[in-house]
């Protein structure tokens, strides 16, 4: 233990432990965003006007909108770039693969072993998602004398297409799988481990994954059924 005078330095940021902690904090914050996003979207089921008014309120508050967007972009880019760096490093750590590799069945889960792939699906989804909705067709509507974007119509037109609804549902299931491992994993990376609370936390992660996965998928299904009936 030679370097006894070391203080907090750049090298700690690049250590394997802190890199995982950066993944953890950005991942958990994105999990928070997901919940907020789902809550807002559920207004679609309540009424078209409620959803449009909510969207209008968000985009009307420019300082809040830009701060939130900038924050999300930073969170997402840090999470993404760190994931790419970690994945490359992890592949380099075993240059020669095994002739046969079998999981024990007592450790890794489907979710834990597919994190880079589900992550990639989410990335592709995010690009198509912004393209279909935020930068999608703009319709206007007037509610209580205020002219605003009819985002409800854009969303519903998207979900009315079977491929659109199916892709959305597929990506949301991938995301649910991703967070079902990520949620618990984030706490482990920060060093939270307790014989009583950790098993609860793992269950909470799965409950959270089911909630957001089922919630978003239900919206796609709702939109598709509405489209079929129209």
């Amino acid at each position: 233990m030679s370097s006894s005078t070391q203080s907090f330095s750049r090298s700690y940021f690049l250590s394997s432990v802190v890199k995982k902690q950066i993944m953890a904090v950005t991942g958990l914050l994105l999990c928070g965003f997901l919940l907020g996003h789902l809550a807002g979207n559920l207004l679609i089921i309540i009424s078209p006007d409620a959803f449009n008014q909510y969207g209008h309120a968000l985009v009307s508050n420019k300082p809040l909108l830009y701060t939130a967007e900038a924050g999300l972009i930073v969170l997402f880019l840090v999470h993404l770039c760190m994931a790419a760096k970690l994945t490359v490093e992890n592949n380099t750590a075993r240059p020669q693969k095994y002739y046969i590799k079998q999981k024990t069945g007592r450790g890794a889960t489907f979710a834990s072993s597919t994190m880079p792939y589900t992550g990639l699906i989410i990335l592709i989804f995010l690009i198509t998602h912004l393209n279909s909705f935020k930068y999608g067709t703009i319709y206007m509507t007037t509610i209580d004398g205020v002219e605003m974007r009819d985002l409800y119509r854009t969303v519903m037109e998207f979900f009315a297409q079977p491929l659109g609804a199916a892709w959305y549902a597929f990506a949301m299931i991938a995301m649910a799988i991703h967070v079902s491992h990520g949620f618990w994993s984030a706490f482990q990376s920060f060093g939270f481990s307790h014989s009583k609370y950790t098993p609860l936390l793992r269950k909470a992660g799965i409950a959270y994954a089911i909630l957001v996965g089922a919630g978003f998928t239900a919206l796609a299904l709702y939109g598709y059924i509405q489209g079929v009936q129209a």
């Binding site: 700690y12 992890n90 999981k103 450790g107 618990w184």
Partner: protein
Amino acid sequence: MSDTNTMTLNLKIWRQASTKDKGQIVDYVLEGVSPDMSFLEMIDMLNEQLVAKNDDPIAFDHDCREGICGMCSLMINGQAHGPEKATTTCQLHMRSFKDGDTIAIEPWRARAFPVLKDLMVDRSAFDKIIEAGGFVNVNTGNAQDANSILIPKENADLAMDAAACIGCGACVASCKNASAMLFVSAKISQLALLPQGEVEADQRALSMVEKMDELGFGNCTNEAECEASCPKDISISNIARMNRGFLKAAVSAKTK
């Protein structure tokens, strides 16, 4: 030992002449394997036949054959130390296999564990991590009177559990990222949990993690395959302890 009890096995064994050699899987058929043999005795039997034919015997690591030294290794059918839970290769017996089974045997694979020959790998990377801080460097004085240093029973148990690590490297071998976090965290925990080791806990965590990263081990993705493959059942709660210990050490400057 009657012949009816013995097995014939199809072995696929990694042969590699040296670190620089490319290496390949070589097929062997081994007859007359008793279910009572240990896995290593089975390889001994094959080696005797190879020597009798003037062939090069298969090099593999082993020492105590009692499951406590940490020398034996081997990926057996893609699992570190074979299919049994909490069992070293030397304590694995051929009764875990059936007549006619095909068994693939490979060395640990990681950038930090280069293959020396056949199934032997160089695990001195672990020694380098220990050299970086896996010891107590403060003067602990003479033996104390009994009970003069109070240690909670829970801490003593956790430290003892962590100290059960034999440094075999199965955690690295079974991890899809070839991460050494289970080993390093066990070595950090066994000292950090006790009063004598706690004094240097911060610096130890920083130094050992820094060395682990420098040696080219991968990053942990919290899959727990290491815990599942560990012959000593070391828990990944040690990794959590290391993670929080490292963070605490990294943010608390001991200098003015």
